[in-house]
Structure formats: structure tokens, C-alpha cells
């Protein structure tokens, strides 16, 4: 046991800082004006993988669409109808736009985190990626708000607190996503450094295998679901009809009095 504690004391976590906040001068790809850091590179990989998966599904499963579905068709139907149904429930008239958008954003977030399992830096552990996703949501909220309420939407801005709370939406979505993904990444990097230092009976094999599902898989699905449902909630709030001002009916007694 003394051996293990000596090993634990000998580990140095000084490499952790470079893992979390990598040097800005250190680029993965550098070809003339095309300069890309680790997160953006894994983002490109995720986009290519998702497009390939969509193409393969289009050519194999959707071409052979049957009334007695195969397991893969069942999965695709469940996935698409899960997002479409919740979008239809939340914002009924704009469900046809919001369903595909939430599915796409959730797929990007989910696979952007899961790519950590292959040793790349997760695509979402970058403030720019989170801000881009949050700004997409911001754009959808206000476009649909204006499309649904036209000029009456401006009445919403008469209250200055509403302006502040609208501006807080993208900021809070950005930091929620970034913080939760970054914390998962930090914990996993710490575990990897710890495991490098310890070469004790099978522990290097067992410890990451137990902790990875907790900090990577769980986060990926929960955060993508939360992002999709928050987007739908905000859009529903924006698409709600502002009640028209009811014209006051004339007091009955006065009219009767005039008739007399």
C-alpha cells in the first residue's frame, strides 16, 4: 500500500492546464489563412460523420421503407418523431421548422461531446461553438416571435426588464453548455493523468471504463436534450399571441337612458 501512496504523490497535474486551455499559438491545421484549433477540427470531423450517417441512412433504410419495419427503421422513426412530436406540442404552428432544427442541434451537441471518446478535444468545449448554437436559438426565438405577432411584438419591449431577460438567454445558454461540457472534460483529463501515474493491478483499465459513461455519455445525452427542450420553451413563449385589447362595450344603462 505504501507503494501506491508513493505513486499518488509523484503524479504532477501541471499538464492539465495545457489540456484545458491550450496555447493559442498551437494549431492543429495551419495552411496559409486556414488556421484551426483542436475543437474546430473535431467539429469538422463531427459534421462529416453526421453527413455520412445521414447519407447512409437515406440510401439504405429510407429507400426500403416498409410497413413492417426493420429495427433500424424503428430507431429512425422513433428519433424523428420524438423531436417532431415535442416541437408540435410546444409550438404548434411552427413545429415543422423547430423539429428539424432541434434534432440537428441535439445531434451536433451529442456527437460533439461523444468524439471525446476517440481522444480528440470535444467540439463543444469551446466558447465559440456554444455561442454559435446559442445565437442560432436566439435568431429562431425572435424571428418566430415577429412572425407570430407582427408589430404587436414591439409592445413586449416596452418593459425594459424584458430586453435584459431576452439578452440573457444566449449568454446563459452559452455558459450552461460550455461549463457542463468543460467540467466533464476536466474530470476525464484528471483521471487520465492519474491513470498514467498509477500502474497498479488493473486499475488503469477499470477506472476510466467506469468513469467515462458517467462524465461523457451521460452529459452528452442530457445536455443535448436540455438544449432542445429549452429552445422549444423559449420559442413557445415568444410565439404566444399577445391578447388584443378588447374594445370596451358602452355602458348599457346609458344607452337605455338615451333611448328613453
Amino acid at each position: 500500500m505504501a507503494n501506491l501512496s508513493a505513486q499518488l504523490l509523484a503524479i504532477d497535474f501541471s499538464g492539465l492546464r495545457d489540456e484545458i486551455f491550450p496555447d493559442t499559438e498551437n494549431h492543429v491545421i495551419e495552411a496559409g489563412w486556414f488556421v484551426v484549433n483542436g475543437s474546430v477540427f473535431s467539429g469538422f470531423v463531427v459534421v462529416v460523420l453526421l453527413l455520412l450517417a445521414a447519407l447512409i441512412l437515406r440510401l439504405t433504410v429510407i429507400r426500403r421503407w416498409k410497413t413492417t419495419p426493420s429495427p433500424m427503421q424503428m430507431f429512425v422513426e422513433w428519433l424523428v418523431s420524438f423531436f417532431d412530436k415535442s416541437a408540435d406540442e410546444m409550438c404548434d404552428r411552427y413545429g415543422t421548422i423547430m423539429g428539424p432544427y432541434t434534432l440537428g442541434a441535439a445531434a451536433y451537441i451529442c456527437f460533439g461531446v461523444l468524439i471525446e471518446l476517440f481522444g480528440l478535444r470535444p467540439a463543444i468545449a469551446d466558447l465559440g461553438a456554444c455561442l454559435a448554437l446559442a445565437l442560432c436559438t436566439f435568431l429562431f426565438i425572435h424571428t418566430i416571435g415577429f412572425a407570430s405577432n407582427r408589430a404587436r411584438r414591439f409592445k413586449h419591449y416596452l418593459n425594459p426588464i424584458n430586453i435584459v431577460s431576452d439578452l440573457a438567454v444566449p449568454v446563459s445558454m452559452t455558459f450552461r453548455l460550455f461549463g457542463s461540457i468543460l467540467s466533464g472534460m476536466v474530470i476525464m483529463d484528471m483521471v487520465y493523468i492519474l491513470v498514467e501515474g498509477i500502474w497498479y493491478v488493473g486499475l488503469p483499465l477499470v477506472l476510466p471504463a467506469i468513469l467515462t459513461p458517467l462524465f461523457t455519455l451521460f452529459h452528452a445525452f442530457i445536455q443535448s436534450y436540455v438544449f432542445a427542450s429549452l429552445t422549444l420553451t423559449f420559442v413557445q413563449e415568444a410565439a404566444e399571441k399577445v391578447p388584443r385589447k378588447m374594445r370596451k362595450p358602452k355602458p348599457k344603462r346609458a344607452r337605455e337612458a338615451r333611448a328613453l
Partner: protein, 85 residues
């Protein structure tokens, strides 16, 4: 006297950031209490009306996401204090 001031300044520059990181992690207390209350109420609601479990789950998830945000802000602040300063 000068030695004392120098010591305090040195402490604030190096260990003060770590102390602040520890204090920032206290946001977890509020988030934990809030999430616990929300989950308990959701369990009560499900026991009272089991057929509404789908709606309750959606609302619980959104509420937990909001409650979790403060804890994540604290975590982010403490990570920045440890590694960036």
C-alpha cells in the same frame, strides 16, 4: 510593517486565487438543495397522478437545467481562477 504588507500581497496574488476558487465552489450547496426539492416534488406529483409522468418529466428536466446553471457558473469561475490567473 513592510514585510507584513508584502506577505499579504503575496498571499493575495498566489493563494488568494485558490481560496476564491474554493469559495466559488460553494454555489453547489444552493443548486443541490434546489434540485433536491424539485426532484422530491416531482416524485410526489408522480405518486399522486401516475398518468401525468411524461409532462412531469419534461418540466422536471427544464427546472433541473435552470437550477444546475448556477452551480455550473460557480464551477466555471473556480476553474478560471485556478488555471488562468
Amino acid at each position: 510593517m513592510e514585510l507584513l504588507i508584502a506577505t499579504i500581497a503575496n498571499f493575495l496574488a498566489t493563494d488568494g486565487a485558490l481560496l476564491g476558487a474554493g469559495i466559488a465552489a460553494l454555489t453547489g450547496i444552493g443548486a443541490g438543495v434546489g434540485m433536491g426539492i424539485a426532484t422530491g416534488k416531482a416524485v410526489e406529483a408522480t405518486a399522486r397522478q401516475p398518468e401525468a409522468v411524461g409532462k412531469i418529466r419534461t418540466m422536471l428536466m427544464i427546472g433541473l437545467a435552470f437550477a444546475e446553471t448556477t452551480a455550473i457558473y460557480g464551477l466555471l469561475v473556480s476553474i478560471l481562477l485556478i488555471f488562468v490567473s
